[in-house]
């Protein structure tokens, strides 16, 4: 996978393009997904997320760098050319080391919900749990009548622009600090 995060940071992506850098594979990724129609307008998506940080990110985390992850899910209608996004949901979770009690602090950006975990594994599990539940609302009602053309797309990225600037540059030059996942898609079967 390539090394640049496009969301809110396409200037950096341009820079990365200029530098023609291709980074190593990341273990922070969505492995699978399942869904559940809560009602005709709401689709609950559960993502199977693999949260294994690269050593360099663990090192950065231990040294006070706050990591921010973003999970995106989309309900798409595939056409002959291109796709229409029918509904989308994004969730961001921050992970940082809380030095006062030597715990890891997991914060959901949207509601500022904070949780402390004594180990990094617990914290990453919590992050995966927080990111892995997305609720797609305002789905057009006609969608469910033609499920064969529907696709569920998801991805997980490290929010690059949330990193400290020197780390962004370093990541842009070295490419091993960033994680980025292309969109994964699954056909949405009829329930």
């Amino acid at each position: 996978m390539s090394a640049c995060v496009l969301s809110r940071g396409w200037p950096l992506a341009l820079l990365c393009l200029l530098l023609a850098w291709t980074g190593p594979a990341s273990a922070v990724e969505v492995r699978g997904a399942n869904h559940l129609w809560l009602d005709e307008h709401t689709l609950l998506v559960r993502l199977d997320i693999d949260m294994r940080l690269p050593a360099v990110l663990e090192d950065a985390l231990a040294n006070g760098v706050t990591l921010e992850f973003e999970a995106d899910a989309r309900l798409e209608h595939s056409r002959r050319v291109g796709r229409d996004t029918l509904a989308a949901e994004t969730r961001r979770v921050q992970l940082q080391y809380f030095a006062l009690n030597r715990h890891y602090l997991v914060t959901t950006v949207a509601d500022e919900r904070m949780d402390l975990k004594p180990t990094l594994g617990d914290a990453l599990e919590l992050v995966a749990r927080r990111l892995g539940r997305l609720r797609l609302t305002d789905v057009p009602p006609s969608v469910r009548t033609s499920p064969g053309e529907l696709e569920l797309a998801a991805r997980l990225v490290l929010v690059y622009s949330a990193l400290p600037l020197p780390l962004q540059l370093d990541a842009g030059l070295r490419g091993d600090l960033t994680t980025r996942q292309e969109w994964l898609r699954w056909p949405l079967g009829e329930d």
């Binding site: 940071g9 950096l12 200029l18 040294n63 540059l169």
Partner: protein, 736 residues
Amino acid sequence: MNQSFPGLRGFPWGLLGIGLLFALLLTSLVVMGNAAQDQARFEQLFLWLLVFHAAILVVLGGLIIFQLVRMAIQYRRGVPGSRLTLRLVAVFMLVAVLPVSVVYYFSFKFLNEGVDSWFDVRVESALEDALELSRSSLDLRVRQLATETQELMAELEGVSEGLVPLALNDYRRQVGAQELTLVGSNNRIIASSTDSPIRRLPTPPDSDVLMRVRPEQPYSRLEPRSDGSLIIRVVATTSSRRPGSENRILQGIYPVDPRMSALSLRVQDAFADYREFAYLRGPMIQGFVFTLSLALAISLMAALWAGLLVARRMVRPISDLVQGTRMVAQGDYSTRLAVQRADELGFLVQSFNTMTRTLNEARDEAERNRRLLDAERAYLESVLQHLRSGVLALDGSLRLRTANAAASEILECDLQGGRTRVMSELGDDCPLVAQFFEAISDALVRQEEEWSRQVVVFTRTGRKVLMTRAVWLPTSGSSRGLHAIVFDDMTEFLKAQRDAAWGEVARRLAHEIKNPLTPIQLSAERLSRRLGKVLEGADREVLDRATGTIVQQVEAMKTLVNAFRDYAQAPQLERAAVDLNQLIRDVCELYRDQDGRSRVDVTLDPALPPIQGDAGRLRQLLHNLIKNALEAGAGTDGMEVHVVTAYLDDPAGPHIEMRVTDTGPGIKPEFLERIFEPYTTDKPRGTGLGLAVAQKIVEEHGGLIECHNAESGPGGAVFRIRIPVEHGPVVHEEPA
């Protein structure tokens, strides 16, 4: 060729581009400087500026590559000014690279050492100590609250479920907790008390916490809140003393003193920031180095680009001048260069334009003169071509420069097509030219200033007498030395003149001399007859002797007059095919053993073809020559006359040659040059007309007669006669 720069073509777009580029860079630096005051804004703009600079770098790189490729192509093609441009660019690059490299080196060193100086072990240690202090202080409070919560839990064991809310409320007020919640099995909230005026559902401990709680070992933890405060969460439980009763868990949430909380969080943030800062030291230096390198690259590329443009701008007048010079060298004097500068180069361009203008005018003038000269030359050529006289012009090396049509006609050679050839070479193809050149070459070689001579050449149709006059025009200025040779074919003229002269002589002789001779002779005879009868003895002898002498001399005078008449007689040749060999045999037979003291023998070429001639005249020719030879050796014993004939086909054409040689004393040198002139003889009894008549007969037959003394053998005179023939040699078949 760039003749002019109308409109905006001469506008310095490149310099304008450089100006705009530097303005953009300056603006970006100002923006970066302002943004540096605000970290968030700096981080927001930094990447944009980075991308902007990278884009400029790419654009500059593209422009430079384009210019370099263009320059390389021009260099390879040898376009004027390309080498100078290359050198100037190299100098610009060198001048730019040296200071920038020095700045880069010291900046790099300063960055590494400067950033390292920001980090101090003592500061880090102090921060760690402060954090540890906060941590200890908070731990103490956490442990205290854990103990209190455990004790509270123990007290709640004895309180019935109905009174638990009241008890929790009392206890909460006592310990100053934000919230106390008693949870039963399956996370069932038994009772809860909170200090918030707004009733809300208490948050039960999560499963992770529940798994960590043990009887008598409460779980306690310091937790941050989103409002920036700290709380202490304590979860305690006891082992149930009553069988069948459910396990109860008490969760207490206690606020941390705001000041303590703020200080602790501040210490923790500062510690985290410092750790992060220290951690980011490497990437930060790399970022600075990267930015510095980017700036360096932009500076170098901008310098290179500026160098290219400035060099091109500087060299353009020079390359225009070189191109213009080439055009002038190719003969294009209309080249004008645009004067774009007011400096020395502009003056140079202006001078070039003045020079080309002057050259153009001079060339026009030269062209006018050339046309005038051509017209004069054409006129002269026309005059020369229409001249009856042959005209030749030879340079100092005797190379033909000019020849007119009459010269070609007289010398029977295409001389006009043989211009620039040496005369000796032309002689190989043209026999007359060879003879003519041989006759005058001594005067040409000596480069006599002015001379004239009569040249006799032998042609297929006979001899030609060429009256030749020449002038040597020595080298003067740019014109080289030249022989101007004019010659006329005087053959017919001389012949006519001579015929007329001798005709007049004959007429006068007949009139003045011959007419009185007969009366004189008759008178002498009458005297002899009349007085012979009267006189006797000695008188009679005197009379007979005197009248005999008169009659004899009169006869001699008649013979002389007849000889003149024969010589002056207009040629009335009765041409017919004559076998010359046979004619020679007949004539020589008459002289064979005539007096026993001389001998005439012949050597005849059997291949001799017949000639078209007058047999009588040719017989007289032979008589005259043999008689002349015999008279030359009169009184000499063993006198021999040898007649030889031969057929020759040399460059002068086919002809027969007859030689008459004798063994006499030869011809005196003073007579040799005028031996064929009438009345020239060294013999006491000769009339002086025999050889003149012989020459006349030869010339009547289109031949040539020459005379010289034999240089070897017994000596004597040699007469060589050449008469042209039309037919080839007679072929005699050998008997089988």
